[in-house]
Amino acid sequence: MAALPTDAERARLSPREVVDRFIPLFYEQRNARAAFETWVHPDYIQHNPMAKDGRQAAIDAIQPIFERQSEMRYEVRLVIDQGPYVMVHNWLQRWPGDRGAAVVDILRVENGWIVEHWDVLQWIPEESENDHPMF
C-alpha cells in the first residue's frame, strides 16, 4: 500500500478532497481495507446499525462481503459537500442486472480523516409510478 498521507498533507485537503480520494478506493475498486486505512480515522463513529464503532470493525464487516460477493458494484451518482459533511448518493448492485439499492452515505471529515458515517439504504422496488425510480 502507498505511504499514508502525513498530518501536514491531510491538513491541506478539504473534506471534499478527502472523499474524492476515498471514492475510487472504496466504491470503485472495492478495496475496503486500503480505503479505510488511508482515509478513515481509527476512532470513527459508526451509525450504520450493522457495524460497531471504529475503523477496524468497519473493515471486518465490509471486506469479507466484498471478497464473498465479487460481482457486487457501487456506482456513485452524486456527491454534495458543505462544511465538514460530504454526501455520496450511490447505486448498489449485488450482481449484474440486479435492481439493487439506492444508498446515501453521509461522511463527516475532520483534519483530513473521515471521522463519522451515517447511511440510508432502500432496495429499489420492482414497480414504479414514474420512469426513473430512485435515480
Binding site: I80, M87, M134
Partner: protein
Amino acid sequence: MAIRSAVAILALSVAAIPAQAAETPCKYTAKQVVEKFSQLFFIEKKPVEAYEQWVAPDYVQHNPIATDGRDAAIKALGPIFAANPDLKVDIKRIIGDEEHVAVHYHSVMKPGTPGFAAVDLFRVRDCRIVEHWDVIQPMPDKSANPHPMF
C-alpha cells in the same frame, strides 16, 4: 406636462410589474430554498403551500410511489399527512451546494413507533425545486453500535 409624464411613468411601471416580477433573479441559495420548503413541509406540515411556493410544476420525481409533476406529488402526499396527524419529523442536518441539497431526517408517523431514517435530495434552479430523489429505511430493532442511524 409634468402631470402627463407622471401618469405615463405610473402606467409604465404598473404595466411593468408582472414582467419584472417574473424576471426577478432568485435571491436565495439552493440550501435556503430547501430550508424554507422543509420548514413549511416537514415542520408546519403544509404540503400544498410548500409545494405551490417552492416546487416547479413540472418537477421530476424519482420516488417510485409518485408520478412526475407537482400536482401528482401533492395528490400522493396529502393523504399521508391526513392519515398521520401526529407525524413528527426531526431534521438532523441539511447539506447543500449551489444546485443540490440533502435533508437527513428521522420521521415518526405514529407516536411510540420507531419510524424511519430518510434522506431527501433536491435539485434547485431559480428558487424552485425541480427534481427530487429519496432513500428511506425503517429504524432497526437492533444495532451493533449505541447510536443507530443518527
